[in-house]
Symmetry: C2
Subunit: 226 residues, 2 copies
DNA sequence: GACTCACTAGAGTATATACTCTAATAATAC
DNA sequence: GTATTATTAGAGTATATACTCTAGTGAGTC
């Protein structure tokens, strides 16, 4: 593997693990057993590394959220979207953590992220539209649909931050992909009132699969670590 | 005013304005025209300053979210809770921005914030319960109510971060309290499906007051700065 | 074998950051 | 007044951080 790619991979790994703020270019170089000079041969600065990682993330999510327009949407599609988005969120979880600082220090990223958000919101809204077309949820006016999409976005993008703070008593390493996906339970909660009678039971059953284990709620401190 | 209090006040101001990460203890001292030594006479370290600010924030929100148990809840109460919580969020807005890092570097804060979150979630859930008792929303099972409360919490605590990133093309100084309160529109969106017929119109009218101006959605870049 | 060029090592630098130390001054207690 | 305590200034320090500079190495080309 090329050094440049190794730098990106290691950076992502370290960022996710320790948070971007706690990872210096020297750490990255040391982790790869290369010299800082070598790192700076491949990237002008730390921001450039982060920007490239963002581009990967963006590409991944854009790929996941590509809505096929030639056929109706199914419940499986919806599940796939939710699962995929949370997968992506997990793989690039450092990103939303330090988002504001990152955007403050990189113009390009700021603009690109803004466009990215708008694309995601449009996709979520389109998904709602197609779910209505498929008779899974009741159709809603555009106004409400876009406000709902925004709420979905807020829940999705901040679910992990919530988990981290709720689990704050333990090691951060305790966070697992499974727990992260309990966010799906929260997203489906938003949909409940809009479900059609025909699909209500099926979606509720789906939601049940992601329900957080009881002890997570009543005594988060006692949760066992993986 | 005592130096100690001035330090807390200036710190909060600078943190809110530039983000905790971009504000050093030397900046704070310089801003107050006192020496760094003076600052460190009053506080052992930066974390201590942040912790004290958190205690103020916590006190404020706890005060706001004190639910009177001796009478029924009104729509005005609900409005008050929403307005107050967003006021608090605005006054201590640096806090949620760098939350994860802050919790990572301060044990006390981690534990206290966790308890704080749980208290807030309980309060939100209690508000829903009392809104149902007052006939404003339909009563819900506890399960659903707590999932809804969590969604409300996610929307509230992350509304500002969203605004910041959505407005990312402009100066961050553009963010106003008014815009922040459009978060109330989003929270009320969550309630819509649960409103009783008796109150539906009134709540929808209330929600309308917080609706974001059209241009904010369609062309955020063109929004005029205060 | 000379040359190029992508790549790498590693020492080095300017600056910043959190924090300390000493000495002095103002406020208060007795 | 004197002693004590609270407060402040300001120079200083150890460390970290992002990044630079110079001097290469090794693989391929002609």
């Amino acid at each position: 593997m090329k050094t440049r790619d190794k730098i990106l991979l290691s950076s992502l790994e370290l960022f996710n693990e320790r948070g971007e703020r706690n990872v210096t270019t020297n750490h990255i170089a040391a982790h790869l057993a290369i010299s800082p000079g070598n790192l700076y041969y491949h990237f002008r600065n730390k921001s450039d590394i982060i920007y490239e990682i963002f581009l990967e993330y963006e590409k991944l999510v854009d790929f996941y959220l590509d809505i096929p327009e030639d056929r109706a949407m199914t419940l499986d599609d919806m599940t796939f979207y939710l699962e995929s988005v949370f997968d992506g969120l997990w793989s690039y979880r450092f990103f939303h953590r330090d988002l504001e600082y990152l955007l403050d220090s990189d113009q390009r990223l700021r603009q690109d992220y803004r466009d990215f958000t708008n694309r995601c919101l449009a996709s979520i809204s389109r998904i709602f539209e197609k779910l209505a077309e498929a008779g899974i949820i009741e159709p809603q006016e555009e106004d409400l649909r876009s406000a709902m999409s925004l709420n979905v976005w807020l829940v999705i993008t901040n679910w992990m931050a919530f988990l981290k703070t709720a689990h704050a008593a333990e090691e951060s390493a305790c966070l697992t992909l499974t727990e992260l996906k309990q966010g799906i339970y929260q997203v489906l909660t938003l949909e409940i009132p809009y479900l059609t009678p025909a699909y209500r039971e099926r979606v509720m059953a789906l939601r049940e699969k992601y329900r957080p284990a009881l002890h997570d709620r009543e005594d988060p401190g006692a949760a066992a670590c993986k």
